[in-house]
């Protein structure tokens, strides 16, 4: 391990991207993630890279589409309303298999909403904000250290699978400072990109990046290839953390910032003699079914905690598939779940399913 720095989450993302070999950033300002752009604007010119403030989020995502089509590592970042505007572009990138990393530091919605932290873009990120049958890998870090590590990983995944990888954070993660320890050198997947459009130089056949196929049979085939790739990713890339899971009876399911709060609740619960574990999905798509399979025998109930009205809970219910009750605790609008409230709910669950 190398340098230790006290760093804002947003800055850690930017620094991680540069360390991962991403020297091109296109973005449009929006709170609470603008520090990513500020950092890039300062640093990239110094390493021969390009920071460009686009005229809009739509232009930004399309610049990313163009740059990514040429085979370089490229990133954009935004927050909820801005990410909505990028949906068409993301669908195009999925269809033409252009790799890139997209950061969404989620704020409370809907509409202009607020700028406080939220997790209400889970559906958009994991199900389908854009049109068509496509997926993107969604990573949910829960500390500044993990923001750094998963950002580096995101670029490797993007290149390996020719896919968009979204980092789904929230305002707390973006704005907080923590100590982050940087590796001396990043492991950068060395992936050939024979498909990239870089000018054929008379040396190879024309490369074309496209997503349109007017013949439905051809378009279906293209979609089948995508689905095959998605299956492969689901098999290989599910990530999650099981915490205090050995003898737990009730499992909190939470990601990102909320998972941290969950950990403090688990401590509190222990003191009250309650056996509470945590399933923390790190990949939200693919959703880590395996984690649920592992605890199915001992889990008496699940409690999904989200800063939303209940979105991940659908994936939790699909993963549990009726084998146990799934409860929900949610806060919205930028409110952060309160550990005392959650503890109270756990006690209630205990009394209904375990101590009764």
């Amino acid at each position: 391990m190398g340098q230790r720095l006290l760093m804002k989450g947003n800055e850690a993302i930017a620094e991680a991207a540069i360390r991962a070999g991403c020297f091109h950033y296109f973005g449009y300002p929006i709170t609470p993630q603008t520090e990513i752009a500020h950092y890039m604007a300062k640093k990239l010119p110094k390493v021969g890279g390009v920071f460009l403030q686009a005229e809009s989020e739509i232009a930004a995502v399309n610049m990313v589409y163009g740059a990514g089509s040429t085979g370089i590592r490229v990133m954009t970042s935004s927050s909820s309303p801005g990410i909505s505007l990028k949906q068409e572009g993301l669908s195009y990138m999925a269809g033409s298999q252009v790799p890139a990393v997209v950061v969404n530091i989620v704020r409370a919605g809907p509409g202009l909403g607020g700028i406080q932290p939220a997790q209400c873009d889970y559906f958009q990120a994991c199900k389908g904000g854009g049109h068509g049958d496509y997926r993107q890998i969604v990573l949910a870090p829960s500390s500044v250290q993990e923001l750094y590590e998963l950002t580096v990983e995101a670029f490797n995944l993007a290149d390996r699978y020719r896919i968009v990888v979204m980092i789904l954070g929230d305002g707390i993660l973006g704005q907080m400072m923590e100590v982050v320890e940087f590796r001396d050198k990043e492991e950068i997947a060395d992936i050939e990109k024979p498909w990239a459009v870089t000018g054929h130089g008379g040396k190879r056949k024309q490369n074309v990046i496209t997503s349109i196929h007017l013949d439905p049979a051809v378009l279906e085939k293209m979609n089948q290839n995508l689905q095959d790739k998605y299956r492969l990713i689901t098999e290989n890339e599910c990530r999650y953390e099981l915490y205090n899971s050995e003898d737990a009876e009730v499992f909190i399911v939470a990601y990102g910032t909320v998972a941290r709060i969950a950990k403090s609740i688990i401590e509190m619960a222990k003191n009250e003699g309650l056996k509470v574990g945590l399933i923390r999905p790190i990949t939200l798509w693919p959703f880590p079914q395996e984690a649920f399979d592992k605890v199915k025998d001992r889990a008496k109930a699940f409690l999904t905690v989200e800063m939303s009205s209940g979105q991940m809970i659908e994936d939790v219910r699909l993963a549990v598939n009726g084998t146990g009750p799934v409860y929900f605790h949610g806060r919205m609008g930028g409110m952060v779940p309160n550990k005392f409230d959650i503890l109270a709910q756990i006690k209630e669950i205990y009394s209904r399913h375990i101590n009764s």
């Binding site: 006290l6 700028i115 707390i172 941290r260 309160n338």
Partner: protein, 179 residues
Amino acid sequence: MVHEIILAGFGGQGILSAGRIMAYAGMLDGKQVSWLPSYGPEMRGGTANSSVVISDKPVDSPVLNSAGSIIVMNKPSLEKFESWVDKGGIIIIDSSIVNKDVSRKDIKSFRIPATKIASEMGNMAFANIILLGKLIAEKGTVSVENFKKALYAVLPERKHNLIPMEMEALKTGMEYNEV
């Protein structure tokens, strides 16, 4: 040992940087730390606050629903945060700006006319440091030595010439006793 600290006041009173300095000093002390600002447009003109956690163990949640130590530099912040102080915790108030006192009896409160003292020292911007001095004196949150190093790390270079004065302010705060 876990120190949970909230600093609150007007934007422009140095609320955010005070928090960062504490977090940085905590890191130098070898602790796990987190710093979380309130952010966004309400900072301008409105109130700002930041939460700092300094802990021997990994910091679970940077989001505080309560804290052992709270520093307030304006009236709305006192009103908002008085109830957040843990039982037995402390609240430190800039009495040159906040004329109200706390009503709770289960916490310790300190009133220091920090802005006034700072003005007299020639720079209103030291008020936050004076209040931090009191916090460190009461709670031993971070070491004075690392606090100084933190100032060098957190403040922009053009302000480094002020650091001796700031350490002076810190001492003033540490030694301040209500009259």
